[in-house]
């Protein structure tokens, strides 16, 4: 039961952005994907959400190739927390989170008790139960991201895909989103998180995959992967790496700039 990506090649038009990407995601772990802009992180997300075709290599979910899944079937297995979520006006938080049950209900079937329970559980996990009847337009930035996460959790997915979920959030909310994700992962989900912030990635993820120019350059626990030579080489700027307990701390060097 895993998400396996082998030698994945994908791109836009004539260009390939991902040249050879390998990744394995299993339940109970948070895997982070990091790398400079243009490395292929967004392309990877687009392939997993089937907006881009697989040009080479393979992606399989629970042993089956990605393109063999029906639309609803895939949505029941994989949920996405997008980079810039839209929360349409007029709907309450509960109504928005309930939309996460669509893969289980299709377009016509009415809600069942199990759907309502899944929604309640998602609201509780993300600590948004008290916001349930509030219109989505009256939420703070952090609250909105939690609601989007709740919707993804309501899908009862096995695999959670978070696409740079922390970009515009205050530190507190960045931590919240990743903490709630870790909580769910401990209960059996698998999470793939694309992140920009190396230190956040180092603290929140069990394993990291570092992409550069469409290829893996490193893969493994953060402490082993994020070394000063590697980070300096991949990102093109000098850094120092200090150990903070079991996690590395990356500090850029300004004197050499």
């Amino acid at each position: 039961m895993s998400l396996e990506i082998r030698a994945l090649r994908a791109g836009y038009g004539e260009q390939d952005v991902l040249r050879s990407c390998d990744l394995r995601l299993e339940p109970g772990e948070v895997v982070g994907v990091v790398g400079p802009n243009g490395a292929g992180k967004s392309t990877l997300v687009r392939v997993l959400t089937r907006r881009l075709p697989v040009r080479g290599g393979s992606v399989s979910v629970d042993g089956r190739p990605l393109d063999r899944f029906g639309r609803l079937e895939l949505a029941r297995k994989m949920a996405v927390v997008p980079q810039l979520p839209e929360l349409p006006a007029g709907y309450t938080v509960r109504e928005l989170v309930s939309m996460g049950r669509t893969p289980h209900l299709g377009l016509l079937r009415p809600e069942r008790d199990e759907d309502r329970r899944a929604v309640e559980a998602a609201l509780r996990t993300t600590d948004t139960l008290r916001l349930a009847d509030r219109p989505a337009t009256r939420l703070s930035g952090g609250e909105r991201q939690r609601v989007v996460l709740a919707r993804a959790l309501a899908q009862s997915p096995r695999y959670l895909l978070l696409d740079e979920p922390t970009n515009h959030l205050d530190l507190r909310y960045q931590v919240e989103v990743l903490a709630f994700t870790r909580r769910e992962v401990q209960r059996g989900m698998a999470a793939l998180v694309v992140l920009h912030d190396l230190n956040l990635a180092a603290s929140a993820c069990d394993r990291l995959v570092v992409l550069q120019e469409g290829r893996n350059v490193a893969e493994g626990p953060p402490a082993r992967v994020l070394t000063a030579p590697l980070v300096s080489r991949v990102y093109g700027t000098d850094v120092e790496v200090h150990a903070l307990g079991t996690r590395p701390l990356i500090v850029p060097r300004f004197d050499r700039a």
Partner: protein, 346 residues
């Protein structure tokens, strides 16, 4: 008032209450509209005529006026109002834009052109006269939207911006062509203009019967599309990730809404603002959930247009104001009010 209603949130969001109340309002408005006209008929006589008709005997001028003129007219106004509001709600949902209206993809311009061609050339080309203004308008409206969809297609998708651009371009071209016809055949210009501005003066049971087979399936399809429309408000990508077949749903909904629009325009001319303002107002008052928005838009669209037609034929009696002018005069300021409410609220 709309904000207070929205604040009451949860209590208003479920339950048949609003639909029943709206239905009742429609019934009252319909009865009132049947009782009023340019010929004074006392309410008792109206009732008598209605009962007579139900019992099967029609005799006398009052019966003719009530059964052959007013009743089909009011019913047609309800059906057209419902169609336009439904189409408007659908377009606003598919394009996720509260400024969308049923004529966005060129249906009105197409219908106008088709009608003008018949009005101008029916004398010289007999089979045109046989086809008639209504069917020509209907066919041209559908053809125009089909061409717009073909122009906007990208792969298997129908991107919103391309659709709107193609709709504007084709719509403008056809409007220009219609204007040219009006100028080239000046003696028909008045007739074309009358048709374009919209009127229920020629309402008949035939037209009511022509609308029903189009409107009823459209309503059913749109009611079933409630959840899809809600989820699509999250954006095409998020909706796709939740398993919604976004492009297929868009195509079906746009086709259905276009059918309803084409039917409405072919029997009543181009009546504006109903499709734009009514769904907007209903959304502000009753919330955006489409399972409720769709049927309520239909009912309130009917109410709005029946009342507009009532004004059109009574305010300046015995002259009639084209109903499209009434909806614009009422709808325009009302829409501005809604916009201000919305801006101050959010």
């Amino acid at each position: 008032m709309a904000r207070a209603l929205a604040r009451q949130g949860a209590a208003r969001r479920t339950g048949p209450g609003p639909l029943l109340v709206s239905g009742l309002a429609l019934a009252i408005v319909v009865v009132a509209a049947i009782s009023v006209g340019s010929v004074r008929v006392l309410p008792g006589a109206v009732l008598g005529a209605l009962l007579d008709g139900v019992r099967g005997h029609h005799s006398g001028t009052v019966d003719t006026i009530v059964w052959q003129l007013r009743l089909p007219r009011v019913l047609l106004a309800s059906l057209v109002g419902a169609s336009l509001a439904l189409a408007g709600a659908t377009f606003q949902g598919v394009f996720r834009n509260p400024l969308a209206d049923p004529y966005l993809l060129g249906a009105a311009s197409g219908a106008g052109f088709g009608a003008s061609v018949v009005l101008v050339f029916a004398g010289a080309v007999p089979w045109l006269a046989h086809v008639g203004v209504g069917w020509a308008a209907f066919a041209c409206a559908l053809a125009t939207v089909a061409v717009v969809a073909l122009l906007a297609r990208q792969g298997r998708g129908l991107p919103a911006v391309s659709l709107i651009l193609a709709g504007v371009v084709l719509g403008s071209s056809l409007s220009a062509a219609t204007s040219f016809l009006m100028l080239a055949a000046r003696d028909r210009a008045a007739g074309i203009l009358s048709w374009l501005l919209g009127s229920f003066a020629f309402a008949s049971w035939d037209r009511v019967a022509a609308m029903l087979p189009l409107l009823v399936p459209a309503v059913l399809v749109l009611l079933l599309a409630g959840r899809a429309l809600d989820v699509m408000q999250l954006g095409d990508e998020s909706a796709a990730q939740l398993g919604v077949p976004v492009e297929a749903v868009k195509l079906i909904l746009l086709a259905t809404a276009t059918l309803a629009t084409a039917a409405a325009v072919s029997v009543a001319g181009v009546i504006g603002f109903v499709g734009l303002v009514v769904p907007h107002a209903v959304r502000l008052a009753f919330g955006p959930r489409h399972v409720r928005l769709i049927p309520l838009s239909a009912v309130w669209g009917a109410i709005f247009l029946v009342l507009a037609d009532l004004c059109a034929r009574t305010v300046l009696a015995p002259a009639e104001i084209p109903v499209g002018i009434v909806t614009a005069l009422v709808g325009g300021p009302f829409f501005l009010l809604l916009l201000r409410r919305q801006r101050s609220g959010s």
